[in-house]
């Protein structure tokens, strides 16, 4: 069959030519080719015949009218709740995202103390390394620093440097921590000692420990008379004890304040997602 020599492109040109869709230039070019190529003419005839057949099929009469009744419209129009689906999807996604944000913020180190009182959390931490922070917080909050009475006469004047100082340095931190009552016992028993101990020089062998307490407003190795020092330490201890009491009572609630909001958000996300799913199922049914 000659028509098989025609390319798909030729067939397309012939089809468009038949429907008058070619531009004048393309039409002229095709007509010129048709004048010399019988297969193009035959192809055009076949396409025309095909179109004639398609055009000649009888139209079906409609079996009935397709007008809508108010009842049909009622059945279809009404489902305003379907419009809730996108909103529910959004609510679900937003709640899930908010939950993640709450959890991340809640779990980030250092964020929880911002919710629970900062100094309150610290006393339970018995690490000595926490001391620098304590010292800094002490100065920030303007509380009166501890005055630690140096026990032995002559110790530490001008920095000392002997093996006796490090233990003293070590014991300087605990009063800031939750074994404050020990300090109460230890402090007053020490004999008053004039002269100020400079912390950095106080404990060179155990730098990690010794450096800690004595910068800025850390515990001050005292020159204050014993009575005065005792009174002041007593005040500090009382204040601290009351703070500790507050913490111990407040702690259960403040332990993870993000958990409740996170749970609520998770419930919202799940509920909205489920509602959306159910609505869509219903709509499909």
């Amino acid at each position: 069959m000659k028509q098989q020599q025609l390319s798909t492109n030729d067939w397309q040109l012939l089809s468009e030519y038949l429907d008058g869709q070619l531009s004048p230039r393309d039409r002229a070019a095709l007509e010129k080719r048709m004048a010399s190529q019988a297969e193009l003419r035959a192809g055009l005839d076949e396409l025309r015949q095909t179109r004639t057949i398609l055009r000649s099929v009888s139209r079906q009469r409609v079996p009935r009218n397709f007008t809508l009744t108010p009842a049909m419209v009622q059945q279809t129009r009404p489902r305003p709740w379907l419009r809730l689906v996108p909103a529910l999807n959004f609510a679900s996604a937003a709640a899930a995202l908010a939950m993640v944000v709450v959890m991340v913020v809640g779990l980030l180190p250092g964020v929880t103390p911002a919710v629970a009182p900062a100094p309150a959390a610290m006393p339970t931490d018995s690490t000595l390394l926490a001391a620098p922070e304590m010292a800094a917080q002490g100065s920030d909050s303007g509380t009166t620093p501890y005055i630690i009475q140096w026990g032995g006469g002559g110790y530490g004047r001008g920095g000392g440097g002997g093996g006796a100082e490090p233990p003293a340095g070590v014991q300087m931190a605990p009063p800031m921590l939750d074994n404050a009552p020990d300090a109460k016992a230890a402090g007053p028993q020490n004999a008053p000692e004039p002269g100020i101990m400079e912390a950095p020089s106080a404990a060179p062998p155990q730098a990690a420990v010794a450096q800690a307490p004595l910068e800025g407003a850390g515990p001050i190795l005292g020159v204050v008379p014993p009575d005065e020092a005792q009174a002041q330490n007593q005040q500090n201890i009382q204040a601290e004890q009351s703070a500790i009491r507050e913490v111990t009572t407040a702690r259960p609630a403040a332990q993870a304040p993000w958990i409740l909001p996170a749970i609520i958000l998770a419930v919202i996300a799940l509920a909205a997602g489920l509602a959306s799913l159910i609505l869509r199922r219903k709509a499909r049914a």
Partner: protein, 203 residues
Amino acid sequence: MDEAALIRSAQQGDLDAFNRLVLAYQELAFNLAYRMLSDPAGAEDATQNAFLSAYRNLSSYRGGSFRAWVLRMVTNTCYDELRRQHRHPTTALEPMDDQDEEEIESPRWLADDAPSPEQELESSELNDAVQDCLNNLPDDFKAVIVMVDIEGLDYQEVSAAINKPLGTIKSRVARARMRLRECLQGYGELLPSEYRLQDEERV
């Protein structure tokens, strides 16, 4: 009332106005659905659903050919139905009576309104041949060729109806005609003589 006014009224919820539009386009819609689905009952459902969908989505009509917009509703409904059929192929059943489940001898839905004599026979054979060949076309080609060659829509309207560029329509029409030409050649003498393709006569 002209069409634009009817559309405006219908958009404001006037069901009577919309029904006048339905009456104007239902034959076109039903024939397109019938040719696409090759099943009168399915075409009936599809046409009804398409008009329901059209009423629901009237607000999305933004001018242009309303006929093309209605046909878009019909083609979309038919595509959905064809997809559903592809997913859940079913074997054709003989129509059964609802009551006693006996086969109905002359179901009303099969009754054709066509006249009668030889003309009817010829027409019927031609219709069957065309429908059979249409059934072998991809759905996209089928929708386009039915709109252009059977329903006589112009390319622009078809382009609007199926939301494809003009070039795509031209290409699909040409490819559909090529395939139909080959398919109809296979019917040869079954077709009325005046419809026989030249190629057939040559063989």
